[in-house]
Subunit: 154 residues, 3 copies
């Protein structure tokens, strides 16, 4: 709202947000948002990734199978975090939303064991909600920490 | 970040809070909390806003109408963010809670298009939950990034 | 977790994690995670605590009684935050999940009044979800801000 002079990090597409240094992430290989949202944002040393589901990026459609969807959702999150210099080990916060705690929590644990290679794991909150978009069964939201390298910008 | 000496904003009850620089936000024109919560907080370069609903600030009561409520909720969030120097373009994370995904998600998209003026949009997670306070139908929680200006405090 | 030295990017499993300074928290006196998650993490000046429920640390089992569980959940969160140098007054964001808004929200307010000693309170979002792990009735997720002291690491 208040123009911040100087300090222009990005190209001309996103002038207002450039001024304050919020960088919207839209990496290659990630899914395509179908609504009024972006995949992720970096601000300072933190990276905020939108809730990810089991959408296969090349077709932008939901996978079949609980475990495949959960794996894909985490992988989609990872793709976005990676694009901003963060690995899964840089995750500081996960919120996992499922539509069936009893059936899906064990699968979430199994997939995380594989992806985090035995740990350590990030702090996690897991919740059973009434519904997700497209009647999906799993969604994960992650926050990451990856200090900007000295001498680089954005 | 940097210890802030002096600079005591509050009474003696919250000494540690002052020391670390968490600043509670309670701007004019915002709604009035009716419980054990505050509207927002700034810490470092980040601003955390409490879940906002379609409460009209002058009467502190819920508006009628889905779209009106959604618009008001985002506007309430914006008022609080603005008070700490952040605009909607400085939003790094949104979580949207609805009680009916099919009916309300299109309205959320519509209102965001207007408020963000075509984008870019922040990362968003949208969830259908069982219920909100006062049987409301929409709530939004946002996090913002707005570096403190050099030479200012708090 | 592991001391931070040198300046390596991608080494053995959690090298980057050490590098970027995400510190996983596992303080004495806290509950024991039973899955692929950690209790909390510090990154920069922020502390992210996993969703806490009314688990009694010495037995790692759920307490009986709504109010006792809510009090214990907040206390578990506090233990973890304290271990990283944050008090309840340093909390910048709370999300409270209940399975019955009408019955539990007043109890949450009551417990917070006691724990925060009359306020000010952090920004809070309260939601009624379908279910929590172990069919629990209350869970709270908190984020805290506590600048690292000069001359210390991690």
């Amino acid at each position: 709202m208040i123009p911040k002079s100087g300090n222009r990090f990005f190209g001309s597409d996103h002038e207002q947000n450039q001024m304050t240094g919020v960088k919207i992430l839209s990496p290659k290989g990630a899914i395509t948002p179908t609504g009024t949202w972006s995949l992720g944002a970096r601000a300072g040393d933190f990276i905020f990734v939108a809730g990810m589901r089991g959408i296969e990026p090349s077709s932008n459609t939901m996978l079949e199978g609980d475990e495949a969807r959960i794996w894909q959702a985490f992988t989609n999150m990872k793709t976005i975090a990676n694009s901003a210099g963060a690995s899964l080990a840089d995750c500081v916060r996960l919120v996992v939303y499922v539509t069936d705690m009893a059936r899906l929590r064990p699968l979430v644990n199994k997939v995380q064991e594989e992806l985090w290679a035995g740990g350590p794991y990030p702090p996690r909150t897991i919740l059973q909600v009434s519904a997700l978009n497209q009647n999906d069964i799993f969604e994960v939201e992650g926050t990451f920490h990856a200090p900007k390298k000295a001498g680089t910008q954005g």
